[in-house]
């Protein structure tokens, strides 16, 4: 049994069209997974569905074999599924420290919170130096680190990270990906990554899903998937035009 299973997910926003038409995939415990695919494939939408922010129109998400259907985002988070969205989503008028405390909102024990804070700050030393600064005064790279650190405060079983490199300088991106790699290899965390910078995303991943036009086209080991001829087709847009040939 996979840790996280998606079965026939169909989803969209408001009264708009389906963004995801039919997605089924398995996320295995202890692995790092990367979802790749062209713009508008529905990658971010998929993460929102799993985190409970967007209820699917059809299909279901199973975590440890249990259906998450109808559960609120905070309940899903309490199960251990945590989401780091792409626009950082910090609390701008709270200090770095308060943002970290908010990350452990579901943990009521102060001793546990401060112990986790020490551990998290060790991974991101810059946050210790910025501890009393307001989040809105941080640079983009620091904000991304805070966003990851805040997510770690809940000690999730699965961490979903959406576009960690978005808007960051290459050097900062490398730092961020070092941390992501460590989360996967040293800490054995299950990760689900969405990344535009495909090579970078795949380099830290074990497994990869290719998403296009709202459904999963194929999947495979991360180190081999770029050699798949279907990838070239996908990014050149041929698959998008004539899905019946390859689908």
């Amino acid at each position: 049994m996979a840790l996280l299973e998606l079965r026939g997910i169909r989803a969209g926003y408001g009264i708009g069209p389906d963004i995801l038409t039919d997605v089924s995939l398995d996320v295995e415990a202890g692995r790092t997974h990367c979802i790749i695919g062209p713009n508008g494939a529905g990658k971010s939408t998929l993460l929102k569905v799993i985190s409970g922010l967007l209820p699917p129109r059809a299909g279901e998400v199973l975590f440890e074999g249990q259906s998450l259907e109808g559960r609120r985002p905070d309940v899903i988070l309490a199960c251990g599924v945590c989401f780091v969205p792409q626009d950082r989503n910090l609390f701008p008028e709270m200090s770095v420290r308060e943002n970290l405390v908010m990350g452990a909102y579901l943990v009521r024990d102060r001793a546990v919170i401060s112990e986790r804070m020490d551990r998290v700050v060790e991974m991101f030393p810059i946050l210790a130096a910025r501890s009393s600064q307001l989040a809105q005064t941080l640079s983009g790279g620091e904000q991304q680190q805070l966003s990851l650190a805040r997510a770690l405060m809940i000690e999730p079983k699965v961490m979903m990270i959406d576009e960690p490199s978005l808007g960051l300088a290459p050097q900062v991106t490398t730092q961020i990906f070092d941390v992501i790699r460590r989360l996967g290899t040293e800490m054995g965390m299950t990760l689900l990554l969405v990344e535009q910078n495909v090579r970078m995303g795949l380099a830290v991943s074990d497994w990869s899903f290719v998403l296009d036009l709202g459904s999963k086209r194929f999947e495979g080991p991360a180190d081999a998937i770029l050699d798949d001829p279907r990838i070239r087709d996908l990014y050149l847009g041929r698959l998008a035009k004539r899905p019946e040939e390859t689908g």
Binding site: L53, P73, F91, M102, I154
Partner: protein, 291 residues
């Protein structure tokens, strides 16, 4: 010079009460993006509540305030559960809440007129006509007590927001609703509590209004106009902004009232509203909305 200080004192006294009246409104907007047009109508309802409590039991309106707080909190939470879930998820949520609360304002006014009639009322506790003298200045006791009560309540609100677990959740939701959701804040519950809180603050403000101003059901239109300009000036959803805006505008209006004429003092609020929308649409403490 003495007169200038005296007018400033009166302005600050009034401003403190305006700040309390506006605080519930700005919290509702901050947490839920609800523009509660009915807020002042609920303040009038709070004034009636305190009035009848005072009339039937002789309970001082300042103490009546502490009865109004929990009663109105529960009333607010129930009202929210009854009316707002239908609007949640609507892509035009804020606009819809304007329509809904506009209707609520009319309904509240209509019911109050039906049951309580449209005559002017006022609670008249013994201190209503008293005043303290400090040197050459005089401080009306009623206004002073009202300011004190406002300071106590606003301090309590501040402590609640900054030092309690659910207060953190409310503040987080005000600053970034999506982020609050992803760290596990149950924003639905926060919304219900905030609506109850906004209503409790309206009820408490009503208790003070009951002895500060003669009131009648339709009086709320005048107040909501003033309160909306206050919270726009302060920056929608900013508590600090609403308080600063309330005191600044109340002081200015006190001067206008003294030196130009009382008829012109409401103009200060509308003038400020136009000016702020032209010069700094995000308000004094508001965040610039990115497009």
């Amino acid at each position: 010079m003495n007169q200038i200080i005296q007018v400033t004192i009166l302005g600050v006294l009034l401003g403190g009460v305006y700040a309390l009246m506006a605080s519930g409104l700005t919290i509702l907007f901050g947490v839920m993006r609800v523009v509660n047009i009915a807020h002042a109508a609920f303040i009038v309802l709070g004034a009636f509540f305190t009035y009848f409590l005072w009339e039937s039991t002789g309970l001082d309106p300042l103490l009546g305030m502490f009865v109004a707080l929990p009663v109105f909190f529960i009333f607010g939470a129930i009202l929210y559960r009854l009316l707002f879930p239908r609007l949640e998820g609507s892509p035009r949520f804020s606009e819809m809440t304007v329509l809904l609360t506009f209707g609520l304002a009319f309904m509240t006014e209509g019911l109050m007129t039906y049951f309580f009639t449209g005559i002017f009322r006022q609670t008249t506790p013994s201190y209503l006509t008293e005043a303290f003298r400090i040197g050459p200045f005089f401080i009306p006791a009623a206004q002073f007590y009202a300011l004190l009560a406002s300071v106590v309540l606003l301090t309590g609100l501040w402590a609640f927001l900054n030092y309690t677990h659910i207060g953190y959740g409310v503040r987080a939701t005000m600053q970034n609703r999506m982020a609050a959701q992803i760290v596990g804040v149950d924003v639905r519950r926060v919304s219900i509590i905030s609506f109850g809180l906004g209503m409790a603050l309206a009820g408490a403000a009503g208790a003070l209004v009951s002895f500060l101003f003669p009131f009648f059901p339709a009086r709320h239109w005048q107040w909501i106009a003033i309160l909306l300009s206050l919270i726009v000036l302060g920056g929608l959803g900013s508590l600090k902004g609403a308080i600063v805006g309330a005191i600044v505008l109340a002081v200015i209006s006190a001067f206008v009232s003294q030196y130009i004429g009382p008829v012109w003092s409401p103009m200060v609020f509308y003038g400020a509203l136009f000016l702020i929308l032209l010069v700094r649409p995000q308000g004094l403490f508001g965040k610039q909305v990115r497009v």
